[in-house]
Amino acid sequence: MKETFFRTMTWLHTWVGLLVCWVLLLVFFAGTVSYYRYEISLWTQPELHSEVFQHYQENHLEQQLAQGQDYLELHAENAKDWRINLPIERKPYLSYSWQTQPKAGQRRGEFIEHVVKTNDQGVVTETRDSKGGNFFYRLHFDLHYMPAKIARWIVGFCTMFMLLALISGIVIHKRIFKDFFSFRRNKGSRSWLDAHNVSSVLALPYHLMITYTGLITLMMMYMPWGVLTAYDGDTRAFRAELNPGREQVKPVGISADMVQINTLLPLVKSYWGETPIKQVVVTNLNDQNSRISFYKNTQQAVTDKRIPLVFSGVTGKLVSDIPDSPSATHATHDTLMSLHTARFSEPLLRVFFFICGIMGCAMIATGTLLWAVKIRQKQQKNIKNGAKPSLGLRLVEGLNLTFIAGLPVATCSFFYANRLLPTEMANRAQWEVNCFFITLTLVAMLACINRTQTSWRFVLRFGAIGLLAIPALNALTSNSHLINNISQQQWALVGFDMMCVLLGGALWFASNKLANKISLSTSSSPAKHKANITPKLASQITSTKGA
């Protein structure tokens, strides 16, 4: 549509990116945070910060399962299902959980989880009502305050835009290898462009992977047409063929006594050897058709498939098939899915995933900031003569302030709400979430009034102080603090505090940079600023300007 393919791609990159960047930033941010979903959930339940931590213990397994079964029989006789969750690296405690029978008109019952204290001191039955890390996980694809289905279509739409922006971005970045290590600081919009390029190119494999696999995770919803032609729309048949052994058996209504779960252990071991078990699920309790499923801890295997060993709860006979090794297609699909969720990653790899996620956020943020900086430069003359910046510019600058500076602050307020709202409050979990969005709205209101660097500095400082004080908040509102978490080797909790301090420090650094810039821009004339940009660079900037 422009004179050349290159110009067209430049235009496309600019507008496709700009149109959805704030939703994308929200999604990217929430996704990045959810790499630490379980750690956040643990932090948001201070009731579990002491007396419950344990490692997986092979030789206690038999006893743990027996105690679990006894406990569930006593307390959850009429439940829909039972789960015994054994300690894993990221959830280092043993818990019994169950789903109550759904009430009339509801699809699911209530989930209840009781965590076992170590040294036979009973169980923790009351933890505060909080969504914890699951809030960010859901926010990542279900957004909030709207039906999940609509949200998923919106997110999918934005993801497709992102893919388009990535591809067109690669096409237009001619100097991809020449500029690979270049970051020229203090050069106005040139620096923003460099920062945008660096954050995009360095983590490009990650960006492409996460965007494409994001579409793959929800492709059954976005592209059901293959099922329509090949299976005449019979989604159930397709899913059954895809995941054999996942179909639920219905209870027959004849009551029967169940076997002791731990008597099945030798059989499980004969299939899996010493592989640790993650979870045992019992369905159709005390029914002729009851099922006991064992799930293994897949550890570092790059897979998202949960293939259980399923036994009849009455006879103790194995009823599931042992799957053959998967075909190339299934393996590819499984790998793509697991790359997105990164469940397999060990702590250090998880850190790298997290850093790449942050780079993704930086890519989106610098992209839209770059747009705003350039448009402001373009309008500088008019603005100096007293004209108002255009509506588009004001809107973009306002949304930038809201989402880029506001998201960390909102996240921070979520954690504060988690600790400071009274535990017996009605609808507590929802109020924590409301606090997140209220904070975001407050920043948005500030952005309506003032979008100068003073507001940026204010919001960033606010977030920085909040995040830096998280260890103090944790020490004051839970029965453990940083030092004794370190001495007890509770790395998940230590890591959470340290990560908050680190991010808080980064925000503080950013706000100081802005403070320097404000004093700089008042002392030096804009003409001097422009002189820094060599003609060659200037021509490049105009060529990427698009429109």
């Binding site: 020449k178 690979f180 290590f181 270049s182 970051f183 020229r184 600081r185 660096v198 360095l202 983590a203 494999p205 990650y206 570092q300 790059v302 790998t335 790359l339 397999f344 990653s345 060990e346 702590p347 250090l348 790899l349 790298f352 995933f353 850093i355 790449c356 780079m359």
Partner: protein, 113 residues
């Protein structure tokens, strides 16, 4: 079990490799050494960078398995690249020193484990 020391040493080697590749470029070499590189230096650094990169990738996948090793290596590369860029643009004179330091750290970590 995946050894964290191995991952750290892979990180230091990647830093070295990407540092070499950065120094192979005219402007970065000049910023770090205050003199322009000769053609031979430039080419040498470039190929040394690539060979270290390939060697450490091989090291990674031979210890961690192909799938996990590859994924981890891409993550390491992104982070090491970020570190190289930060050093090259904020402390260009120290880039060679830091490269030497990171290499010795990496080698000693390898020897310990």
């Amino acid at each position: 079990m995946i050894s964290n020391t191995l991952i750290f040493s892979l990180l230091t080697f990647s830093y070295l490799a990407l540092g070499c590749m950065a120094l192979a470029m005219f402007s970065h070499f000049r910023d770090s050494f205050k003199q322009p590189p000769t053609q031979a230096q430039s080419r040498g650094l470039y190929w040394v960078g690539w060979s270290i990169l390939i060697a450490s990738y091989y090291l990674g996948i031979s210890y961690l398995g192909f799938a996990y090793g590859s994924i981890l290596f891409i993550g390491i590369l992104s982070f090491a690249g970020l570190l190289v860029i930060l050093t090259a643009s904020y402390r260009p004179r120290h880039l060679p020193h830091l490269m030497a330091g990171s290499t010795s750290l990496g080698v000693s970590l390898m020897l310990i484990s």
